[in-house]
Symmetry: C3
Subunit: 429 residues, 3 copies
């Protein structure tokens, strides 16, 4: 098997999607979803009309942008949207005007501390316009007249999101949510959709799914709110666990941000998996949240949703700039996040409350599970078998059982299966 095979594939998808100018509405979102639908044919694309009430919010007008630039008096484009879609303040209203340098500077955003980075700026709910650029470039601008042009529209249309439901044996649902509303950025944008897509493809191929899976690709905040407003009752009834996928692409760190109360089911599973595969991971608190767990864990929604990340948003220098690109995000980084999340889902698929069927330890030797000659050093496999039997009291789920005996839950599974075959253990719930 090729190293990081799925990581390579995900990285390729991210390269394809990188140039698209996404926002919370508009053609960029649709184009992104169409690309993903090629991989996930059953992905449904939902359109919510502008003006729709979604809880406390209203779907805004749809934003579309064709071109944007700033020219000097000689017609040289000193800023060009065609070079990088971060150059325009996202959701800028149309403009076509001449300004002096000092007037122009009031419409420019830069990062003096990161002079080679174009910042990512938005103005969704205040009509406004502006340009973003590297501070180094700004310093080169000379006195004179500048022609600022933004060929955008802000008109009634739709907010678009994608939803894929993969049915399972049970109505119990696992929710995966990621966002598709940032322009050309990689860790804090494309890593989420591509890892969600790879997970969804893997889930779809499972022979016998215990859970139903709901994978959503939503514009952050307003999209999650729109999705929730259309599905709240069913989600509250069925969702047993969920993860927000954000910043899952670099390979500098593993991060975890639990649900509001910090002890929900996906919290317990995520910590168990991270402790096993990335014991050095950083645990943040819900106070440090920043993506759609803000909506999923809000008091009136209160779904069990946690967030597993690589380098968390806001903690790495390239965040929300043009430096958050596909060199920062790597096949290894994507594959690592995929593996952690896949392991969480695998554990949830087999999780349950196990109980021994008989009082006292069984005579494992009878079942070919126990060596009859006692030597000082016991085989670790036998120790694990005995420990599973000793703690399987029907009050601990697989994760609790595994934690009690200092094992990884997935490593308990084959032992439990062999004990189930001999009727020494049974699932009670």
């Amino acid at each position: 098997m090729i190293e990081n095979q799925i990581g390579q594939e995900m990285h390729k998808w991210a390269q394809d999607l990188f140039p698209i100018c996404r926002s919370i509405t508009g053609p960029g979102v649709r184009e992104t979803l169409r690309y993903l639908k090629n991989i996930l044919p059953k992905l449904e694309i939902i359109e919510v009309p502008s003006g729709s009430k979604v809880f406390d919010w209203e779907i805004p007008n749809e934003w579309s942008i064709e071109d944007a630039y700033v020219e000097d008096e000689d017609g040289n484009r000193v800023i060009d949207f065609a070079d990088n879609n971060l150059h325009v303040v996202n959701y800028s209203e149309p403009v076509d005007t001449w300004l002096s340098l000092s007037e122009l500077e009031e419409k420019l955003y830069t990062l003096p501390d990161q002079p080679n980075a174009i910042p990512y700026i938005t103005s969704y709910y205040n009509r406004s316009w502006g340009f973003c650029m590297a501070d180094d470039e700004k310093q080169k601008l000379k006195e004179g007249k500048y022609h600022a042009v933004i060929k955008s529209t802000l008109e009634p249309g739709f907010l678009t999101y994608g939803e894929l439901v993969i049915p399972g044996n049970s109505k119990k649902e696992i929710l995966l949510s990621t966002y598709i509303c940032h322009p050309s950025m990689a860790n804090n944008e494309l890593s989420g959709p591509v890892v969600a897509t790879a997970l969804a493809r893997w889930i779809s191929m499972l022979d016998n799914r215990e859970h139903t899976y709901r994978v959503v690709f939503v514009p952050e905040t307003i999209g999650a709110i729109a999705f929730l407003s259309q599905n709240l009752e069913g989600l509250k009834e069925n969702v047993v666990a969920g993860y927000v996928l954000s910043c899952v692409g670099d390979n500098r760190a593993y991060s975890f941000l639990p649900s509001r109360k910090g002890q929900s089911y996906p919290d317990r599973v995520a910590r168990h998996v991270l402790k096993h595969f990335a014991p050095e991971y950083t645990e943040y608190t819900f106070l440090e949240r920043g993506s759609d767990e803000r909506q999923y864990c809000s008091p009136g929604v209160d779904l069990p949703v946690a967030s597993i990340m690589r380098s968390k948003y806001g903690t790495y220098p390239e965040y929300h700039t043009s430096l958050d690109d596909l060199e920062l995000v790597t096949p290894e980084g994507l594959q690592g996040a995929f593996n952690i999340l896949q392991n969480c889902l695998k554990i949830m698929e087999v999780n349950g409350f196990y109980r021994t069927t008989k009082p006292c330890e069984p005579q494992l030797g009878k079942y070919g599970l126990y060596p009859s000659v006692g030597v000082k050093k016991r085989n670790q496999h036998i120790r694990n078998t005995i420990n599973i039997l000793a703690y399987a009291d029907g009050e601990l789920d697989l994760v609790g059982l595994a934690e009690n005996i200092d094992l990884f839950a997935s490593d308990c599974v084959p032992i439990i299966e062999s004990l189930e075959k001999e009727n020494l253990i049974e699932l009670v719930e």
Copy 2:
């Protein structure tokens, strides 16, 4: 505003009250209460007759003292009650007798380790008499005959205590209790009554009190027991929180002593306020209790009563000696204790369980509470607003909510009020 204005005023009251010879019964208690009634006109003065049964105790005879001294053969007063009322063992029976120096010495109490301090000694329930003096002075006594005179009476009378009930919207009651039974001492006596008086005056002036307040000035132990025996049923029904005010006058420390189980409502509020204003405070355990929380928290009473102090009784060298005076107790010290307690009461007045009214985060921008242009550094006020909304699940009271989001409860109040005005949050309990 004058610095420590209330502290200055409280210190003045303490100066006025300092010379009075208080005990657990007698004219000194009455005189003290009359003085406080001038400030708190609605203070009721309750008299409990000697011989009354109060739970396991009986109100003793009333003690009154007119004069006491020891003269040498030449009529020189070597000890004089007129100089300092600590010179006589509190509750001494009358005596008029001549003794040799060695006989006298058996009736003298000194502190060899603090040779300039007169100790404070009592003998309430054993008929006895004696004198207290500085060890330095005792060393100067020469061989010879001494005339010991105590002009006291121990006769049927009353135990006296003061009680002020300040009604509020609710029958839910907050109890403040302090003691008025020690003679001329300051931290371990007058600090309590003067801080309680200033708090009662402030409470009385509040426009709209949520709670009923009961402020009691009782002789320690027997007075608290008498008060409890007359009011137990009502107190158990109504008291939601209480504080014992003892040693609230110096400015060397802040101390906290929780109720017996350590997690009662006043414990939680006190810790929250102390953490904010005096994070270096010392927390004692209920094993180190020593004042009337002994009665309030006794198993058969079990009121939620904690104790906030400056330097705790028994922990400072001047305790129970003539050195515990009004240089030790300062306006700053009194003001500090007043502030902490006032903040606890302020929080209790507005405390409640808040819940958001809508699923998901509201669109704060609509309400003028949220900036529409996203920049990297978010305003802390907005963060606090969002955090309050994110944690207001109706299961946390204001203190719990504040602790969860690392804020001071009182700082949450204006934000909650602005959210209530927009119907974004509501009080559920």
Copy 3:
């Protein structure tokens, strides 16, 4: 009183029992039980026939051994069971055969890292045979023919165990369990039976037992399982606490291994006693279990059973070798374990939930329990009395009460008795 008097006596018993070749069945077990029955005349000896089903197990054939040796060609015994019964693999089937040195070596067990120690090896459930010897001795064996002889039988018979029930006022039962299935070893064999015997003798002599005691001497694992299979219902109904006695004889350490969930009644009592008498004790987790708590705490049995030890099995170098002898186990070591366990039982005998009878502190002076002259330094006895009264809320048992006030439970007992006499405290449960 002689120092370690009971320890000396227990050590003498262990010397008498040391040479017997015990196993999980057979004459060695019976001989051991007969010896103990001389000390405990009411000890019942139970025989369970071979082939009986006991939960998942079947009682094996009975093993009996008369002689075993290996001779060289000249008739010199190079290994002789008569020298040490560890020389033969326990439960070896009969054999009479000639082998080359290399063939013989396949049947020999030694410990190269402990070249002077004979290892202890068993093969209960696989028919097999073998010899154990010091590695030093093995190295001396020369090329040649060897005659290996084991005069054993493995035939239908019985598994034998001992059970002593000492009735008390209540049906509530305390279980003590120890094992009698190892040949000549001391800490990991005889220490348990002799300490259990001394405790049983002491319990039998108590005037007024609150609990019923059940003391069992069982072959480890299969014997405990047989005992449980015959008594499970009654044990589950009546047993409130139990201890497994294993490795209670050396004086290098105190060890504690709690029940599965770690917070059962015997866990709490054992920790309280160990903290008082041996605060340096080592606490292991249930994951490190190894004796019959494996059966007593198995999910289908789930009795509250913990294990108090000196040096725990598996943690000391002499474990499961001929070096685990009666020099390692000392009178002091046995006495220390006896004392800890005796104290646990003493506390359980008087344990209960106490509550004060009156609100507020009582006037202790009335009862001759309180000095009426208040001096700075309070008597510790009075402090303890007041603390007991302050915490006796009917919700804490004696151990909980004692832990709350930083006292040893047994030191609370005389104070509680004096308070009960004055009707100041009462037992509520």
